[in-house]
Amino acid sequence: MNVNARILTHRVVQQCTLKRIVTFSTKPTQQAAAVAVPQQQEAPGPSVRKPIVPAHYRFVYPEFLPDPKVEWRNSVREKLERLDMLDRRRQIELPEFYVGSILAVTSSDPHAAGKTSRFVGICIHRERCGLRARFILRNVIDHQGIEVVYELYDPTIQKVEVLRLEKRLDDSLFYLRDALPEYSTFDEHMEAETLEEGTPVPVNDIKVVLRPRPWLERWERQNLLGVANIDQYLKDKHRKSAAKVQKPWEKYDLMKQYRSTIPEEEQKEIFAEVHTELHTLELQRKRNKRKRTFVKPKQLA
């Protein structure tokens, strides 16, 4: 009896640790699968209370999680920062988006003729947390590649629209700078594509074609998934040097993972604090949208 119980607990612990690793991984593509089936994961153990905060919040609002570097953390600062972020979010809608989504940002520009400027592009990178959260948009306009860095909580930003909500295979798409221009060309007057509610965010598994060397970075060292023809441009020396700098053991480095992520318990605490506010904002936005869609036919008629 006693032995049985011990084995059982051991197994449970094992399962827990396994699950933890899955939820802690930083690759968004793998998470997409995990996010898609949150109920199935939480199902075992009927006695376990369902968490109030939806599990996908840490992907939708990644900037609410502070920098995991211990030396820089302070609970009061983080709290004040979150309050300011919520204040800003009450003013404008900052929608859910990922690296690979296509956004349109309208911002006040003192230099522009109409004092606003709108830029459409694919989000190639998202970084930093708190009020410093920023993202980079890239587009090719008139055969000229252009990139703009925006801060998410900048009060001069008037509107952030998500024209196409999707993910790509990689965490950042800097390789689009070395890809053929058609892979980062997006129409400025593109209309927003709507996803049905409840569907998981689709992963676009497009593979881009790179231009020949010279490149801006050594892409062969970065294990990119979204590149089609990298092998074509590699010689043996490149492959060898790339193999030399690989660190395949790092995925087993639990300490490194621990240091570079916010523990799940803390994440729950943080989101429990802001959850109700974010949820009401979401609902409000949805209601407003429905109203808008209801009004439109009237005007047409």
């Binding site: 030396e71 820089w72 953390r73 302070n74 609970s75 009061v76 600062r77 983080e78 709290k79 004040l80 920062e81 300011d84 972020m85 204040d87 800003r88 009450r90 003013q91 404008i92 006040s108 520009d109 003192p110 003729a113 109409g114 004092k115 606003t116 708190g130 009020l131 410093r132 801060e151 909580y153 900048d154 009060p155 001069t156 930003i157 008037q158």
Partner: protein, 372 residues
């Protein structure tokens, strides 16, 4: 000493002619250069932490000690985001003394002890982004005031006319007295303040004297004013010349061997063939007291006692202690009277967040520019 020798010689000469009893010699002792008064630390520089021995105190006794602490100083509480005790014996809102002399620009006010809790950007109303550092004033109480006559430190601070100034001893972050030495707790005995982890002295004019037990809050400063912040810089240890002084180093290749991050030449030969004083060389970097002057206060939060000051170059690491003073820069000194000698807080008149009028409040609408 010389004089005694001369006296001895005189006595010898005299002794030949007259009787020795007739000459009366007084010995004079003079102060030599070795018998200067020692430079002593101020009396509040005492060992703080008690050696934690595994003394055999029973659980009952331990809880009794706890009870006594709570009876005298109040229960543990979270005041303004800081873990502290509700200090019952202190008058929370002492009535401002009636006989205050008015503030003049020449007066030195008391400062505050704060912690640097991080940094994040704020935006101005014209859309400009400013980087700010957050300083949290941590549970400050006046422990003691030493009037000008009595304040004669052995190590004189570099303040002109020090004899005209007094000194205010301020404590920050109260802690369990059972962890501290008896002598350290003795500093707080007459003030009625709970023993604190940190102590600092501020040199003040006698007009700006504060009564022991007065709580100091972030309201001591006003939004838009300028402050000086003193802190101990991050300790980098022994560092080379590239990191310590920003030298360029030498090329990584092109025939360079073993000289990539070295300083190169440190002096010429010839007549002055030596290393000049002040030459930048490798050495210990950081862990020094530094003052950064003239930082504007952009915003103040009275609920958590936090102020946002300009810039991200405040000395010290995050969660490190800093001291905040009125600025000494002549053009940035306050024109109008700040709260003097400090803000005697009334409970509910202060708004929670105070923004400087140039700063964009996150609750306001998006910044737009009007077309001409």
């Amino acid at each position: 000493m010389l004089r005694t020798v001369i006296c001895d010689l005189a006595r010898l000469r005299l002794s030949g002619s007259t009787s020795p009893a007739a000459v009366l010699v007084t010995q004079v002792r003079e102060k030599g250069h070795l018998s200067r008064p020692r430079l002593r630390n101020p009396y509040w520089f005492i060992r703080k932490e008690r050696t934690q021995t595994d003394d055999l105190v029973t659980g009952e006794n331990r809880s009794f000690i706890k009870e006594v602490v709570h009876d005298t100083y109040g229960k543990p509480a979270l005041i303004k985001g800081i873990q502290t005790y509700e200090q019952k014996q202190l008058i929370k809102t002492p009535v401002a003394p009636t006989d205050i002399e008015p503030w003049t620009p020449a007066v030195r006010r008391c400062g505050l002890i704060a912690r640097k809790i991080g940094q994040y950007p704020l935006w101005l109303k014209n859309g400009e982004r400013v980087r700010t550092t957050l300083l949290q004033v941590v549970d400050n109480h006046v422990v003691k005031y030493i009037p000008p006559g009595e304040y004669t430190p052995a190590q004189r601070p570099r303040v002109k006319h020090l004899d005209r100034y007094g000194c205010v001893l301020v404590g920050a972050e109260s802690t369990n007295p059972a962890l501290l030495t008896k002598e350290y707790c003795g500093i707080f005995r007459d003030s009625g303040v709970m023993p604190t982890k940190n102590l600092a002295r501020f040199i003040v004019s006698p007009q700006a004297a504060l009564a022991p037990g007065t709580p100091l809050n972030v309201g001591h400063f006003r939004v838009g004013e300028f402050v000086d912040v003193r802190g101990k810089t991050v300790d980098h240890g022994f560092q080379g010349v590239v990191k310590r002084h920003g030298f360029k180093g030498m090329p990584a290749s092109h025939g360079v061997t073993k000289t990539h991050r070295r300083p190169g030449n440190i002096g010429g030969g010839g007549e002055k063939g030596r290393v000049w004083p002040g030459t930048k060389m490798p050495g210990h970097m950081g862990n020094r007291w530094r003052i950064i002057k003239g930082l504007r206060i952009w915003r103040i939060n009275t609920k958590y006692n936090v102020m946002w000051v300009q810039g991200s170059a405040v000395p010290g690491s995050t969660n490190g202690l800093v001291y905040i003073y009125d600025t000494v820069l002549p053009l940035r000194k306050p024109k109008e009277a700040p709260p003097f000698p400090t803000l005697y807080e009334t409970e509910d008149d202060a708004p929670e967040d105070i923004w400087y009028d140039q700063v964009h409040n996150f609750k306001d609408e998006t910044i737009t520019y009007k077309p001409e």
